[in-house]
C-alpha cells in the first residue's frame, strides 16, 4: 500500500427494502444492511465474509450505487474526484460507473452467448462512450485482454467455446476495460474448480498491483479471503460484527461468530475431526431479526444484555473492531473458547 488513504469511507450505511405490509401503521422494512462503517484503503484488497443472507452482496451493490442507500454517508475519493455516493446523479453518477465495476460470480451466466468475446469486452467502452473510435476501442480491448491472458484468437470466438476459468478471465477483462479504480468481486471464484481458482486469484492479485486497483472481495470462503485480502470484515444479518487486518482476524478472532465460522472450515487434516464450537441453528430471517445482538439466538455465550441491547463496534487493537458485549471477558477466558 503506497498510501493509507481510504478510497471508500462509509459511516452508518444502511440499506432497507420495504416489505408488503398493512395499509396502516409503520411500513415494515428488511434491514439488509444496517449501520455499517468501513474504510476501504486505496490499493487494498478488502474482504467481506458472511453466510448467505448476511448482506454482503447488498453492501457491495450499495457501494456501486446499484442498491438503494437508505441512510448514512458513503464517500468515494480517488484523488481526482470526490463523490458523496448517496447524492450523485446524472453526469457524476455516469462518471462514477466508469470508476467502479463489478465482477460477477457465475462466468457462465454473465456472458452473452450471442456476442463475441471482443464485443463483450468492448461493450462497457461503447456504452459509456469512453473511446473516440473503433480503432481506439480495439486497442483498449487488446490491451486488457493481454493482461487477462486472452489472445487475439480468443477475441474472435463466442463464450461457449471457453472453459470456466477462461470465461472468468473474460469477465475480469470486461470489468477492467474502463480502467476502474474500484472493483467489487462478488464470489468471483466460487463457481470455479480448485485447480482453476488459484489461477484466477493470482491473476486478480497481480492485476490489482499492476493497475493500482482497490478491490472489495466478497466471499463465503474464508480460506480464499485469508490468502488474498489485506483487511477483512465479517457480516451477520446485515451488521458488521468484526473487522481487522487479515492476519489479526485469523490469529485472534474476537467475535464468537467469527470464531465459529473459522472452526467450521473443514480441516485438511483427517485426524483433526473435532466437533468443538459448531454453531447450532441457522441464520434467522432478516424480516424477523432477534432483538438485541443479532447473533444472540445462535451464540453459545449470550447473556441477558445480549438479548436486550444491540452492541456497538468497539476498538480491540490496531485496526481491529468488534461488536460484542462480551469480547473482553471471552478473551480473558481464552480456554473457554479454545476449540
Amino acid at each position: 500500500m503506497s498510501e493509507a488513504k481510504p478510497l471508500i469511507t462509509t459511516r452508518n450505511l444502511s440499506v432497507h427494502y420495504p416489505l408488503r405490509g398493512s395499509l396502516f401503521g409503520p411500513k415494515p422494512v428488511v434491514q439488509a444492511v444496517e449501520n455499517v462503517s468501513i474504510d476501504i484503503i486505496k490499493g487494498s484488497f478488502f474482504g467481506l465474509v458472511g453466510e448467505s443472507g448476511s448482506g454482503k452482496t447488498t453492501l457491495g451493490r450499495a457501494l456501486l450505487r446499484a442498491a438503494p442507500i437508505t441512510k448514512g454517508k458513503v464517500v468515494y475519493d480517488d484523488g481526482e474526484v470526490r463523490y458523496d455516493l448517496p447524492e450523485i446523479e446524472g453526469r457524476e453518477l455516469k462518471d462514477y460507473r466508469s470508476r467502479a465495476q463489478l465482477i460477477f460470480q457465475d462466468p457462465y451466466a454473465a456472458l452473452s452467448p450471442r456476442m463475441t468475446v471482443r464485443d463483450i469486452i468492448a461493450e462497457p467502452l461503447e456504452v459509456m462512450g469512453l473511446t473516440k473510435n473503433r480503432t481506439e476501442t480495439d486497442e483498449r480491448v487488446r490491451e486488457i485482454a493481454a493482461k487477462c491472458r486472452l489472445n487475439l484468437e480468443h477475441l474472435r470466438r463466442f463464450p461457449h467455446a471457453f472453459s470456466g476459468g477462461q470465461r472468468q478471465r473474460i469477465s475480469i477483462a470486461r470489468a477492467l476495460v474502463s480502467s476502474p479504480r474500484f472493483v467489487v468481486a462478488d464470489e468471483s471464484v466460487a463457481a470455479l474448480d480448485v485447480s482453476i481458482q488459484a489461477d484466477v486469484l493470482n491473476l486478480l492479485k497481480s492485476i490489482q498491483q499492476e493497475m493500482g486497483l482497490t478491490f472489495l472481495f466478497i466471499s463465503h470462503d474464508l480460506s480464499v479471503v485469508a490468502h488474498i485480502c489485506d483487511h477483512v470484515a465479517v457480516m451477520y444479518l446485515g451488521r458488521l460484527v468484526e473487522t481487522a487486518p487479515t492476519r489479526t482476524l485469523f490469529s485472534t478472532p474476537r467475535h464468537p461468530y467469527t470464531r465459529a465460522l473459522l472452526s467450521a472450515i473443514p480441516s485438511l487434516d483427517p485426524d483433526d475431526r473435532g466437533r468443538a464450537q459448531k454453531l447450532e441453528g441457522e441464520i434467522p430471517s432478516p424480516t424477523n431479526p432477534p432483538p438485541g445482538c443479532k447473533f444472540q439466538s445462535r451464540c453459545p455465550f449470550a447473556v441477558d444484555i445480549c438479548r436486550k441491547q444491540e452492541p456497538e463496534l468497539e476498538h480491540a487493537g490496531d485496526g481491529h473492531e468488534v461488536s460484542c458485549h462480551r469480547w473482553k471477558e471471552l478473551m480473558e477466558n481464552e480456554p473457554l473458547m479454545a476449540g
Binding site: 477462461q166 480448485v194 482453476i196 467450521a264 485438511l268
Partner: protein, 333 residues
Amino acid sequence: MTRLLEVENLTLQFDTDEGRITAVDDVSFSLDAGKVLGLVGESGSGKSVTAKALMKLNAGNAIYGPKSKITLHLDGGPVDVMSLTTAAEMQVVRGGAISMIFQEPMASFAPAITIGDQMVEQLLIHTDMSAKQARELSIEMLNRVGISDASKRFRQYAFELSGGMRQRAMIAMALSTKPKLLIADEPTTALDVTIQAQVIDLMKDLVADFGMGIIFITHDLGVIAQTADHVAVMYLGRLVEQGPVREVIRTPAHPYTQGLLAALPHLDDLDAPLVPVPGDIPSPLERPSGCVFHTRCSKAIAGRCQREVPQFTRVNEGHKVACHLYTSEEVQA
C-alpha cells in the same frame, strides 16, 4: 469387514450431437459396509456419472462398455447391476438398496407435494409398511436428523424449509428405506460453512448408527478429509489415485492430486503462494491420448505419458496410483 460394492472396469460413453464422449474410462473400486468412500474430482471428471451408473440412472444415450461390471452384495446374495433391465428389476437398487442425496435439495423435492407425502410415498413403494407406519417412521426420521417440530415440518412444502433443513429432510428421506449404500452427491456444496459442518456431523453419526456404506462425492478435499475412510481421485473419467484418506491427503502420489492440494489455500500458512494446476481441463471431445492428465502435468515424461495409458501401481498398503512416474511393482487394479 463385509464387501458391499464392487465396480470393475466401468466404462461409460455418451452419444451426443458432437460425437461420442467418454465420461468414465475403465474405473474400478470397491466399498465395504460401514465405510465412506470419498470420490473427488473437478467438474467434468465423471464422478456423478459414475455414481449414477451404480443405479443405471444415466440418460438413454449412455453406452456401457462390455467389460463393465457392478456387483452389489446384499443379504439375499450378489446382484449384478449391469444385468438389470426392466424398471421392476431395477427397484432392487433404485431406492431399495441404494439411496441418493443430491446437491440442491430444492430441485429434488417436488414443489407442490408436502415433504411428508413424499417421504411416505417412497416407503409405500419400497417397503411393505402401512400408510400409518410409514408416517410414523417418516416423522421419527425427521426427528433423527435434528429437525425440530418434525410433525409440523412433515406437513410443509420444500419452499417453507431453509436450505440446511431441506438437506436434512432429504437425508431423512434417503435413509428411511434403510439403504445399504448411500450415494451423497455434493450434499454440502450449496450450504453455508456452518451448516455444512452440521450436516457432516449428522452424516458421521448416521454411518455409525446405520452401518451403511457411503459414496461421498465432492470437489472439496477438506470435506473429504473430514468424512472419508478411503479416497478415489478422478480426472477426465479416469481414476488416477486411490487409497486411505490419511495417505492420499498427506502423501499424495499422483501429480494431479498433488496439484489439487497445492492449489488450495491453507489457513495455517497464509504466506504460502497458491499454485494453480496449469492450463484448463480439456473438453471431453478432445480427450488427451495416453495419460489424460499429461497436458497439464509438469512432470510428464516426454514421449511416454502422451502415448501410454498408465496402469495402477502400488505405492503403499492399499494406496495405488496410475502414473508412469511409479512404474515398479505393477499390481492389478
